[in-house]
């Protein structure tokens, strides 16, 4: 049996604000490696809740990309309790790995606009 309440809470408490984050002057990859970040994103199972390119998984996990939070924002979400999102300590997920993940998320292109997709305008 699957409990859904945890995910509802997660969704309501961990919704990332992605608007214009890419233009944020504080945004930095801190030298992260996108390829390494992708490997970590898959190996650590981030994609299970957030999608393979951070597109989000609804109540399971908010959208992370395109336009991800800056590094410090992501680090804060990873290091501190926020809803039911697991807390990952440096022993589990190093600062450098978080930087790599952010670099991966920043490398993800925006993609199509909804207005250009006929199926989304029915």
């Amino acid at each position: 049996m699957k409990s859904i309440h945890a995910c509802v809470l997660l969704a309501s408490l961990v919704m990332f604000s992605v608007a214009a984050a890419a233009d944020d002057p504080t945004s930095t990859t801190a030298g992260g490696d996108p390829a390494a970040g992708k490997r970590v994103f898959f190996a650590d199972g981030c994609f299970y809740c957030h999608g393979t390119t951070g597109a989000g998984g609804g109540i399971a996990g908010p959208r992370l990309a395109p336009n991800p939070l800056p590094l410090e924002g992501v680090k804060a979400k990873v290091r501190t309790q926020s809803g039911r999102m697991p807390v990952y300590s440096p022993a589990v997920l190093k600062d450098s790995e978080i930087a790599d993940i952010v670099a991966y998320l920043q490398s993800i292109p925006k993609g199509k606009d909804a207005k250009d997709i006929p199926l989304l305008n029915r």
Binding site: G45, T52, Y88
Partner: protein, 646 residues
């Protein structure tokens, strides 16, 4: 008239699913009895033959346990189970789902040789698992608005079906369940009969059914069946169980016995008390930021219409928990996606058949806000299983059926709205309509993210399905929480039958059976039934696909194949992170890979047209189009889509 006196060896073996056919020799033949059918069951009187006029053949020999049953030559002219069929038909039951079991072989034979051959038809739906039998009944009832029957073998059969009964209980859905019983210990055969006997069979599920009984006479059966049926469709709806003794099914009707089928009354659902309803109306009309939250509020199409009427009178936002099709998805007052904004700022929250009122706001309630509940759940609840959710202190608790109470509430609201107030409400409604449109645009923008991605996003999956069905009379047969509620975000749905909610207790294995049951109910209306279900769920009860193929039940089953029990990965990650042991192994036990399951082959093996696995989103539309064509011809089809987690 004697119909069958011989049986092939194959047929013998087919009776032997669990190798437990019992020995029995009947005394008395040619018994003459009288069946009196009353009230609603007049239709049963028109049957080609009544239950007291026919013969059946009784299986005898303990050898039957070993798979070689034979007859002792004894015949009889009547049997109790034919009368039971008449009772079920009299209750308006059209279908009975079952996998064979010898404790109801008398009823089984009566259904196929009497129920299915005379009017009104009572058709046996062949199943592969008792969990599927119950789930089919569950899904059927949510569309048909009435229960169908399911029969289960004593002990092991009911144990298999128990979880599905719990789903029906938690989902407030009527299921008319019959389990076989061998009450007379002196009539039991070998060890299998004893292993399949129980003193109090329904006790296993008594914590999560509305009512049960073990009748000891045919009159008793008729009265208890009518009572069980009545209870199941009196709000709050719920499943009932009758344990029916083998001898009662198989023995002849006693000579001269007059049997009466009680007529069932029209059910009047409990309505809210006038004073409480009027106070609720006063609070709602005076509220600046009222909020209506509906869960299983619309039991019938009328419930949806009434909720629209109430919302429009008040120009109040409606948050739909999606337990049922409560409210049109594109109605300007549909504000489900804005719940997190609306609920903490609401000054009056009206919960309609809300199971979990607490989850609406939690502790984030506006100062002075009033919470009002209208729920039949307050009228009947049990204690052991905790599906009643967290206690929520409400200000007015109306213990009544919400749908039945809405007419009085609407009338009271209407009387209180002055022209000046109506103008203010209109302005509120205009703002909400604007908010609804903005939310729709946000949903579309979110759906566009990762549009061409592989694995395919759930948004793309749902948009592609809608593209193929939107010009049909479609009906979605699954809850959508695991697809991020994309159908509600992107599709237009106005009819009550277009959505039925989820399992109730989130017990896996629900959807394959429930969607087949719902599609069975849709079939006579010519609707295009669609289900989107997870791969994990389908692996529990894939045999439901065979039932759909066998009975030519048209259903488009789309597998949201994320190759994992996705929900649980996060929980295991959480544990591993907390224990500082790394999170790279959290997928173990959660993923369904190595090997990947080929659901198209699985479906094809059971006679279901299948496509997939579909990995490229460009291939999805054409595959769905081909599958829809098959479904429109009256057959089931499956499309396996390799998808993102959610």
């Amino acid at each position: 008239m004697s119909r069958r006196t011989k049986q092939t060896s194959d047929e013998h073996n087919s009776l032997d699913r669990r190798k437990f056919l019992k020995a029995a020799t009947l005394a008395g033949t040619g018994a003459v009895a009288q069946t009196v059918v009353a009230g609603q069951v007049a239709a049963a009187e028109s049957s080609t033959a009544s239950s007291s006029e026919r013969h059946t053949v009784q299986i005898a020999s303990r050898e039957a346990e070993q798979g070689t049953p034979h007859y002792d030559g004894a015949t009889q002219t009547t049997c109790g189970s034919d009368f039971m069929v008449d009772v079920m038909r009299g209750l308006g039951i059209e279908y009975v789902a079952a996998i064979p079991g010898n404790t109801f072989k008398g009823l089984h034979e009566s259904v196929i040789n009497y129920g299915m051959t005379s009017a009104p038809s009572l058709e046996l739906i062949s199943c592969m698992h008792e969990e599927i039998s119950v789930a089919i009944s569950h899904g059927y009832a949510k569309i048909a608005g009435k229960p169908m029957a399911c029969m289960m073998h004593s002990t092991v059969g009911l144990q298999h079906g128990a979880m599905a009964l719990y789903n029906a209980w938690a989902d407030r859905v009527p299921v008319f369940a019959i389990v076989g019983a061998q009450l007379d210990a002196s009539k039991r055969g070998g060890y299998v009969d004893w292993a399949h006997s129980v003193f109090d069979g329904p006790g296993l599920v008594r914590d999560f059914i509305k009512w049960d009984d073990t009748p000891i006479s045919l009159r008793h059966f008729a009265e208890s069946a009518t009572r069980a049926h009545k209870f199941s469709i009196t709000p709050p709806y719920g499943p009932t169980v009758l344990a029916v003794d083998q001898e009662l099914q198989e023995d002849p009707i006693k000579s001269g016995e007059t049997l009466v089928i009680p007529h069932e009354p029209l059910i009047a659902p409990p309505r809210g008390e006038d004073g409480a309803v009027n106070e609720t109306a006063r609070l709602l009309v005076a509220a600046e930021n009222p909020l209506i939250v509906a869960d299983r509020a619309a039991r019938t199409p009328e419930g949806l219409r009434l909720l629209v009427e109430l919302a429009e009178e008040l120009q109040a936002p409606v948050v739909d928990i999606y337990g049922r099709m409560n409210f049109p998805w594109r109605h300007p007052l549909a504000q489900t996606r804005r719940q997190a904004l609306l609920a903490p700022n609401a000054d009056v929250i009206l919960g309609l058949e809300l199971t979990d009122f607490w989850a609406v706001t939690g502790n984030r309630l506006a100062p002075g806000a009033k919470r009002i509940s209208i729920s039949a759940g307050d009228l009947y609840m049990k204690s052991n299983y905790q599906d009643f959710d967290r206690f929520t202190p409400v200000d007015i608790a109306i213990a009544a059926d919400a749908e039945a109470t809405l007419p009085a509430l609407i009338e009271a609201v209407r009387k209180l709205i002055t022209p000046r107030r109506r103008a203010a409400l209109k302005a509120r409604g205009a703002q909400l309509a604007k908010d609804h449109q903005e939310t729709l645009e946000q949903s579309r923008a979110a759906a566009a993210v990762g549009w061409d991605l592989q694995p395919i996003t759930t948004a793309r999956l749902c948009a592609e399905i809608y593209e193929q069905i939107r010009n049909e009379d479609w009906a979605l047969c699954n809850g959508t929480i695991f697809q991020n509620n994309w159908p509600q975000q992107l599709w237009t749905a106005n009819h009550h039958y277009q959505y039925i909610g989820d399992a109730g207790a989130y017990g896996l294995g629900y959807l394959p059976g429930a969607s087949v049951g719902a599609a069975l109910a849709h079939r006579k209306h010519g609707r295009l039934a669609v289900a989107i279900g997870g791969d994990g769920d389908l692996m529990f009860t894939p045999g439901a696909l065979w039932t759909a193929a066998h009975h030519r039940i048209p259903l488009l089953y789309v597998v949201h194949n994320n190759r994992a029990y996705h929900q649980e990965v996060m929980f295991v990650q959480m544990m591993a992170a907390k224990r500082q042991r790394g999170i790279t192994r959290a997928h173990i036990g959660n993923t369904i890979t190595d090997p990947n399951v080929d659901f198209a082959k699985l479906a094809s093996s059971m006679g279901v047209y299948a496509q997939g696995p579909i990995t490229d989103p460009k291939d999805l539309g054409p595959a769905l189009q081909r599958a829809v064509a098959v479904v429109k011809r009256g057959e089931p089809a499956l499309v396996d889509v390799i998808s993102q987690g959610r």
